[in-house]
């Protein structure tokens, strides 16, 4: 066989392998979705979907499977974590990429990498040791409330800290890809550093920032263990962020495999998984749409 023929065949093979792998990853997503749907089907047949999603009553023994407390806790914990992490990470990475001296970045970047590698159970323990008593003894009394310290706020804070290394790393990468020519063009016109950041760097990196947020958001929705350890795990609807709660991942992890004697319990938990999966998918799609729009303008 000639060398040219060999090269062409290799090219074809590699192409084929990549195609198969791509198709495979799409099929996996579909398979998960269909699997969950199949398992959730029994409960969808006997209960109305609106009732399942909007009812606050979760009493498996009485065949009441209202998911609302868990869905609402999921959004509260995740929203809080993003509310803390996004501004913090944006400012930190702007500082690191635009203002900090070489010696500071050389010190901080490895620390961030270490933080990223810490297993989530450690973050959970850290939350129990430090954040739980802090919320119980200082934050709750400050607002005139009584709290065990195991609360949505605690979960949000722990989750935010877990998101920081990931988000900072991505954002630094994003800022790095903005060609320095753009910054220099702006500086050359007499702009200050901050004007360059505001009008050029942040605009040029907007798609990257959106991707970073979307990625962290998916992770935040799904993060289970650390949140589960500090969030209190009660099935009541929380009235404030100082109340304990149980987000969807915690609900699933806490209960799946137990008490399966109750009919439909298993199906209800898989419906919870399906809801979680769809939430994550939904926000990813939203991010894509925003990204598409941003890229059309200006970039």
């Amino acid at each position: 066989m000639s060398f040219l023929k060999y090269r062409l065949r290799m090219d074809k093979n590699v192409h084929l392998i990549m195609k198969i792998l791509t198709v495979f990853s799409i099929v996996t997503i579909l398979a998960i979705l269909l699997g969950l749907l199949y398992k959730a089907y029994p409960i969808l047949k006997t209960h109305s979907l609106t009732n399942l999603l909007l009812s606050k009553d979760w009493f498996p023994q009485k065949e009441l499977f209202g998911l609302f407390p868990f869905i609402s806790s999921t959004f509260q914990v995740t929203g809080l974590a993003m509310f803390i992490a996004v501004p913090f990470c944006l400012l930190a990475s702007i500082y690191l990429s635009e203002y900090a001296s070489k010696s500071i970045t050389r010190l901080v970047l490895p620390l961030i990498d270490i933080l990223a590698g810490i297993p989530s159970v450690i973050f959970g323990i850290w939350g129990i040791i430090l954040i739980v008593p802090f919320i119980r003894d200082y934050v709750a009394p400050f607002f005139g409330k009584v709290s065990s310290g195991y609360s949505i706020l605690t979960g949000g804070i722990v989750l935010a800290v877990m998101l920081i290394p990931v988000m900072v790393n991505i954002l630094l990468e994003v800022f790095n890809t903005v060609s320095r020519g753009y910054k220099e063009a702006s500086l050359a016109l007499g702009a200050t550093k901050w004007q360059c950041i505001k009008h050029v760097l942040l605009i040029k990196s907007a798609p990257g920032i959106i991707s970073a947020i979307a990625l962290s958001l998916s992770r935040a929705f799904g993060e289970t263990l650390a949140v589960l350890m500090v969030v209190g795990n009660v099935t009541k609807s929380p009235k404030s962020i100082l109340d304990p709660a149980q987000p969807l991942p915690a609900l699933i992890a806490n209960n799946y495999g137990e008490m399966m004697s109750v009919d439909l319990y298993d199906s209800a938990l898989l419906l919870a998984s399906l809801v979680l999966f769809i939430i994550v998918l939904f926000f990813n799609i939203i991010a894509r749409v925003i990204l598409r729009r941003l890229e059309k303008n200006n970039h």
Partner: protein, 257 residues
Amino acid sequence: MSLSINNQSNIVVENLNVFYNQRHALKNINITIPSNKLTAIIGPSGCGKTTFLKCFNRLIENNDNINVTGNFLVNGQNIYQPNIEITEIRKKMGLLSQRPYPLPMSIYDNITYGPKIHGEKNKEKLDHIVEFYLKEANLWEEVKDRLHSPANNLSIGQQQRLCLARGLAVEPEFILGDEPTSALDPISSKHIEQKFLELKNKYTIVLVTHSLRQAKKIADYVIFMYLGEIIEHGSVEEVLLNPKNQLTKDYVNGEIN
């Protein structure tokens, strides 16, 4: 509105040295840039042309571990003094880089970016600035119907003219060009060259160029650099047509690249 005409605009460089880490990139540069003339800086790639040009508006300081010594006098004032307001220096120098970098905003906003950051708020005045400088850069007719569309949609040649207009809109005294035509098609290059010929009556222009043809065509004064040093400088006739130094002769004859 009139363009600022200032016959006092002058640049004197004394014993300028630039180090990137340990690398001695500019060695003892001494030169007076003639006012209201077009000075071309030529020399093989890597000889320090860009480094030298970036000293004019202190963009050179955007590098890590950079060290600049010597005097760089603009209108008699050393711009490397510690108490100098760097944005004021940069406002005096319009820069046209090797390839155009339109800011991520509309054509209109690209032009008003400079005037706005320097405090201009009057809408009518800004409208006027946009029209005036787009005309000045021969771009007005092509873009007047889509001033509010993203600047990124323009062709490379149009983008470079936009960058010229944007630079002129802050009313600089000097224009710096770092091989501004090297990424352009021949027609766009001609546009820019033609513009530079017109502008040299009003501004002091320093143009780094890789093209001897371009230097011969539009320059009044030529600086030849080699390995971080100025080897020879003088009028076009002196440096390009009758070089004294052997290195300059070799470069002009195309024997150094």
